[in-house]
Amino acid sequence: VIELILKWLLAALFLYAGIIKWWEPWDFADAVAAFHLLPPLGINLVAMMVPAFEICSGLCLVMPRWFRAGCLLLLLLVGTVSVPLLWAGLQGWKIDCGCFGSSWLSFSNPWLALGRNVVLMVLLGWLYRRDWRKNISI
């Protein structure tokens, strides 16, 4: 039951994250630009792709056949986003990745945002491992 609830919660969370970024693409592009890590061409590409990946993977989390693929892509995505957050934290910058727009899940402290991402990665990893083992035993 916990597993099922967690799957739905994470699916809802990533769908929400994808939709709010898709809704305000300029805000997310500005958030990506604030890290000064990508050229102008890369910034808008990331701002276009990330919300779409989150929406597609979020939906996959509630589809048994596609669950593990969705989980892997989200792990990759959250892991990749954590790299610039780590960079910003080391630089002492006070910026957020714009991952959750301006909701209560967004933090202007990169270390807090990084902590949130680590929690998400642990949960995704745990769910992936459980699904993998369940299917192996069958």
């Binding site: 898709w22 693409p25 300029w26 805000d27 592009a29 500005d30 630009a33 102008p40 061409l41 910034i43 808008n44 590409l45 701002a47 276009m48 792709m49 919300p51 779409a52 990946f53 929406i55 597609c56 993977s57 996959c60 596609w66 593990r68 693929a69 969705g70 892997l72 892509l73 990759l76 006070k94 301006s102 993998w132 299917n135 192996i136």
Partner: protein, 173 residues
């Protein structure tokens, strides 16, 4: 060795299947992103433009400069009705907290906010407008001040430290 390979075969094929799934998802994501962006009227162009560049066509560069003030001045001006404080941050942040009596005229929603506040801004009793945003590094206060300067409005100052400095100083004392 061959038995080891044999043992790992199901795992490898399962991992391959998962990675193929990821590949499919990435392709779907790219397609969704491209379709979603081309179909919407406010879609992103291929090359990023900063907020200043986006408003650049509207604001003459000379209009972007304004005198800057600090927390001490701001605090002493709070009770004066002839001074209007303008919060240039987005509505969400304004609702979370703003300077007492400040109005929300965000860079993002400039046109609508300006129409809504027209009466307050053109009040003949006003002598000074003080614009602020989130902190020292944000440029929204300068951009909003630049846009406002295109109208016959009173003198304008920028509260340099913005909301961050205000909170750090403990707000109203």
């Amino acid at each position: 060795m061959s038995s080891l390979n044999h043992n790992f075969q199901p795992l490898i094929s399962r991992l391959r299947k998962d990675l193929r799934g990821v590949g499919c998802l990435v392709c779907t994501g790219i397609l969704v992103a491209w379709l979603g962006n081309t179909m919407r009227p406010d879609g992103l162009p291929m090359v990023y433009q900063t907020p200043a560049e986006r408003l650049g066509m509207l604001i003459p560069v000379a209009h972007l400069s304004a005198e800057e003030v600090g927390v001490t001045e701001v605090r002493s001006w709070l009770q004066r009705p002839e001074i209007l404080f303008i919060d240039a941050r987005s509505a969400t942040f304004y609702e979370l907290g703003h300077l007492p009596g400040a109005v929300n005229l965000s860079r993002k929603n400039y046109e609508q906010d300006f129409s809504r506040l027209r009466e307050r801004l053109f009040d003949p009793r006003l002598e000074l407008l003080v614009v602020y945003c989130s902190g020292v590094d944000c440029e929204d206060s300068h951009l909003v001040a630049g846009l406002l300067r295109q109208h016959p409005l009173p003198l304008m100052h920028i509260f340099r430290g913005g909301w961050e400095a205000w909170e750090k100083a403990g707000g109203v004392k």
